[in-house]
């Protein structure tokens, strides 16, 4: 019996090792809003993410306050008026990367499918992207359009700078084996 226990422990440990966990602590998410008076761009370079290459599962936690803008006032308005970050401090994505084969060399087309939760709204999204295994690190990228109204983000009527009703989001993560 004892050797089975040893065998079990061995399998357990190898199972953990086999799960091919990847982590990214400094993922980049930027967004760009093309507006009539002023283009608005913001960047968050400290997005945390975990990726399980075996199952394809991926999760992100995006802290709304970590988005940095060109102008300090934009950041305040973004937090105070649009994202209401005191009420909704985080946005999260929970889903899976579909179509990724870790063993293939070169960039592969993949899709991220799952639930994006932001500003108190949870939506199913399915966005295209690419993934590439570079010397054991997985580099994932995606670019997609998001509509503000889908997430119940309202633009106050008094705002001068017309803010675009949809924004372009870019995601750029480099995952290291955990």
């Amino acid at each position: 019996m004892r050797k089975y226990v040893v065998l079990y422990l061995f399998i357990l440990i190898s199972g953990i090792l086999n799960a091919q966990r990847y982590t990214s602590e400094k993922g980049h998410i930027t967004f760009f809003s093309d507006a009539t008076i002023e283009d608005i761009e913001a960047e968050n370079t400290i997005v945390g993410s975990l990726f399980n290459a075996t199952s394809g599962e991926v999760v992100y936690i995006i802290k709304i306050r970590d988005f940095v803008f060109d102008k300090a006032l934009m950041r305040e308005h973004f937090n105070e008026k649009y994202m209401e970050s005191e009420k909704y401090p985080k946005a999260t994505f929970q889903g899976r990367v579909v179509g990724f084969k870790p063993d293939i060399i070169g960039a592969q087309k993949v899709r991220a499918v799952g639930k994006l939760s932001m500003h108190g709204v949870v939506r199913d999204i399915d966005v295209p992207g690419s993934a590439e295994n570079v010397n054991g690190k997985i580099h994932m990228k995606s670019k997609f359009i998001m509509k503000l109204e889908d997430y119940n983000i309202k633009i106050p009527t008094l705002v001068w700078q017309n803010i675009a009703e949809q924004i372009e989001v870019s995601v750029d993560f480099i995952y290291k084996p955990a």
Binding site: M1, Y4, L7, Y8, I11, L12, G15, I16, A19, T23, G48, S49, L50, N52, T54, S55, E57, V58, V59, Y60, I61, K63, R65, V68, F69, D70, K71, A72, L73, E76, H77, N79, E80, K81, E84, E86, K87, P89, T92, Q94, P156, L158, V159, W160, Q161
Partner: protein, 294 residues
């Protein structure tokens, strides 16, 4: 033997199932450090009504403030309810760091030049670092350029034109829409009429804002003077305002019993009695310019 093998096999698969169901999100949450969330935009502007709020300008940000007070509404139709008179302060505030601001201005009341230094000592925060209040220290000087030297009374020295203010501004953003502030204040005037005025005046102010919508807020402010000498004709300052924020501008429409826009003038020399209708309408308009980009 076979039975044992099956157990191991079951454990093996059970193991994998557990791995798959393992909540990746929880794991990510646990791996992240608890961070400190600072309160921001406790007030929309650097001025509550007449006086300062705890807010300083962010680093590299320049704000132009045009503040304006009409005459008292009880001037009646003859004075077009105060609109015939205007008292103006033009000012610039600049953020040297996110916590340190400097300000200069000129107020038409007594043709006063003023300058301030404002420093955020402590910031309200929660999370890894918890602190209930934001505390800002303010120091300022005001220099009356009126009267002209040749028109001054005998014995009047330039040093008599100077007055100083020191304030501690203490505020808490209680909810996203409600912020309250108290302002222990000290004003020193180099020259006063000793028969009914002090050189050193102490006042305690209280004020706050309630957000009505995301861009509109109601504000109010009251300063209570603690050491008023007998026979002093001046009143405590009271003011109400509506802040309207539109992009880079904040418009504040105010009602107050004072016409002065420096602490010396509105803390120690407010002539109007709110109850008697000595109410001045006015506005503060700010425009923010980002000089240094992040």
């Amino acid at each position: 033997m076979k039975k044992h093998f099956l157990i191991v096999l079951a454990l093996f698969f059970g193991n994998y199932l557990l791995m798959a169901q393992d909540d990746l999100m929880k794991e990510l949450e646990q791996s992240q450090d608890k961070d400190t969330e600072y309160a921001f935009q406790t007030f929309k502007g650097t001025r509550l009504v007449n006086g300062h709020t705890i807010e300083t300008k962010n680093k590299g940000t320049l704000e132009f403030i045009f503040a304006h007070r009409f005459g008292p509404v009880n001037g009646g139709l003859y004075e077009l309810f105060g609109l015939d008179d205007a008292y103006v302060r033009l000012g610039l505030d600049y953020g040297i760091t996110d916590n340190l601001s400097v300000s200069i201005g000129r107020n038409s009341v007594d043709k006063t030049m003023d300058g301030y230094v404002k420093y955020k000592l402590l910031r309200q925060s929660k999370g890894a670092r918890n602190f209930p209040l934001t505390i800002t220290a303010l120091g300022g000087t005001a220099y009356k350029t009126s009267p002209k030297k040749e028109d001054a009374l005998p014995g009047f020295e330039n040093v008599h034109r100077l007055a100083y203010v020191g304030q501690l501004l203490i505020a808490r953003k209680i909810t996203p829409s409600l912020s309250l502030q108290i302002m222990p204040s000290f004003v020193h005037r180099n020259a006063v009429n000793k028969s009914f005025e002090n050189n050193d005046d102490i006042a305690i102010g209280a004020g706050g804002r309630i957000k009505l919508t995301k861009s509109v807020a109601f504000t109010s402010e009251y300063y209570y003077r603690l050491n008023v000498p007998d026979g002093n004709p001046y009143k405590n300052t009271l003011g109400f305002g509506i802040d309207i924020e539109t992009g880079g501008h904040v418009f504040q429409i105010v009602m107050t019993n004072t016409r002065g826009l420096t602490e010396r003038a509105f803390l120690t020399e407010t002539e109007g009695d709110f109850g008697d209708g000595d109410i001045h309408f006015g506005f503060n308009v700010t425009r923010t310019f980002q000089l240094k980009r992040k």
